[in-house]
Symmetry: none
Subunit: 207 residues, 4 copies
DNA sequence: GATGAATGAGGATTCATTCAT
DNA sequence: CATGAATGAATCCTCATTCAT
């Protein structure tokens, strides 16, 4: 798990003892476990501490308050998910548009599935901390990557405002993937879904 | 305010006297006012009762618990919004696709704006009660209407699975409208947004 | 059901309409039904009124408060039980002691069984109203009856203080019957129980 | 005060620090004091906390809910009473039946008097929590002790089923003692009461 | 570094009872 | 006689956070 609670640890002795990192991780993981099994309403600091096997006092040594624990959880998972997705997308940068889009959607579905809880379920059962950490972040992970990609294919494109196009596609793709995974489409296979959605994007984008 | 909390109020009394309906409405409206000004976290039953000018006992005479008040609010507004949108769409049923889609998106933006708080802001600051009342319901209000519309234009269409196509378009349109209204697109006018989004849909849909 | 809520009805028109008596009974019976099925904690005036099919307003026409409803229930059942028991005991007044006691215990068990709920269960789950209406009353129903009976058999008796003897026997008999019915004695038949208990009494009483 | 709420407190913390035990005791004692002076109906958690000189939060640190406080009180007192009685009875094990019974009844009266409130008054003014802690437990404390005692005197006894005999005597003795202390017998001294009640038992038991 | 006892403001909910219609 | 809307004091309980040890 990535380093969290930075402000606190920054001004403390550099080598965050391994023990400390272990404690820190176990707190965040306990929070995740409780969130998954009992829901946000049951997430209390005392409960987290108990599951993590530390005292509340200790918990408050590592985190200034409850929200920061959840934020640490989300940040960590979103960071991982983004990194994973970005690295996979890089492998596709050389592919033509008609190959890139279906592949990208497949990867997105795959990442959403892997981090389903934090990315898809959690946002639904908790009041937003600030502005949609998870969705926002994961939503636009593709943006910068794709902007570069599209710029390389300018000649093939029929759209003029690339930024607007990316905005529209980002929203269309992510919301459809989320809905597909969350509500499902009884009669439709994943293959059909990917084909049709990427078809929509490619037709929109190309001449 | 329209009659609300009817089926649900099996546990609580249904308004039999005129006085009752007035009280009931004022409770729901107070909840909405508090939600708008102070946010979900400040929505307490005592506060609602106070603003509504009734006793806390009266509040519980009409609603079994706090959640049901919010649910009544959402249901009422979503019902109104849907009805409004549906009636406007009916006027467009005779139009060709290239006219229908931009018009529809404009209407959707307009309805979202009118019911902005309950439809767009509220879902972001409260934990979901059961299934996403607002989004889900507003998301698919267009579905049945549009399915009929599209069936009349089958010959012009390039898509085969109409249900899948509607699923994709519903998500693409609603999520883009919501994001457009919520986050905005600094450089883009509403007209451009509507053009581009409807362009995406029409290109996808037609031969 | 016997007339209850006397104070109220005394100064009202004499002929308590049948309708009124029906309403009154249905209130008391509703209370009993709720008590049996949901327990004392669930006995609310609104609930009673609802089950009885009358408004709370009406309920408060017949009873000054909730306790009086329960009291009416208990009084009615205890009155019936006592009357029933007394009439059965009268038939035994001519019998010798060795016949009287077993017979009396059998009758007591039978009456307790018939009015089990109000006489045995109810006292256990509700705070006492005044001093143990039910137990007290049923406990001493035998007293006066038996005092007369014993006086007729003075010559056979070995006890001197008849009142004390009756006190001891009353308690011994009623508590044993209640415990026998309530907790049971796995290995013991009712016949053995009656034999042994009356044996204890008879031996104590006679020379 | 003896350690209480130990097994039960799985949900709540067990006192690890000395401070904790003191707090715990003061909560239970406050509950007892309120119960004695104001009655069960006035026993509120806030009141208990106030009298105990702790915050309401602390109270809930030690007990999961109000009932458990009362249960802890009852359990503690019943445990003490039983232990006390048992130890006194052991001193009588060598005595003949005609000495044992009056002595035992005297001891029982004495213990009942010492713990009068929890053992005699409290059960009458509160709804039962689960199964009658107090009565049941105190009722049968004598059972095992006495069974052994009687087995040593088999040759003197006229009864065959010892278990049944003990059941009958337990109920007869405890109910009479409770009634004697609770309702009283105006004309009768304790000595006469004890004599007569033990007389009943001895006559029943011996040849 | 760690502990866990203590805090207490605050919130949801209940229910006997009244009274205007 | 009947209705049922309205009352509101009162109660139980939660939980993030602090701080003395």
């Amino acid at each position: 798990m990535a380093r969290v609670a930075k402000e606190k640890s920054a001004d403390r002795k550099r080598p965050l003892q391994e023990r400390a990192q272990v404690t820190l991780d176990s707190i965040v993981e306990s929070a995740e476990r409780i969130l998954q099994t009992k829901g946000y309403a049951s997430l209390t600091t005392n409960h987290i501490a108990e599951v993590a096997g530390v005292s509340i006092g200790t918990l408050y040594h590592y985190f200034p308050n409850k929200d920061m624990i959840v934020q640490a959880l989300i940040e960590d998972r979103v960071t991982r998910a983004s990194a994973q997705l970005r690295s996979r997308l890089l492998d596709l940068m050389g592919e033509p548009i008609a190959v890139m889009f279906p592949a990208m959607i497949r990867e997105l579905l795959s990442v959403y599935r892997e981090y389903e809880f934090v990315l898809l379920r959690l946002p639904n059962e908790m009041p937003r901390l600030e502005d949609q950490q998870s969705r926002l972040t994961t939503e636009h992970f593709t943006f910068s990557t794709n902007l570069n990609y599209l710029k390389q294919h300018t000649t093939e494109l029929s759209v003029e405002d690339l930024e607007l196009a990316l905005f529209l596609m980002d929203n269309a793709i992510t919301s459809n993937c989320i809905q597909f995974l969350t509500r499902g489409l009884p009669e439709t296979s994943e293959a059909s879904f990917v084909d049709e959605l990427s078809g929509m994007m490619v037709r929109y984008l190309t001449k």
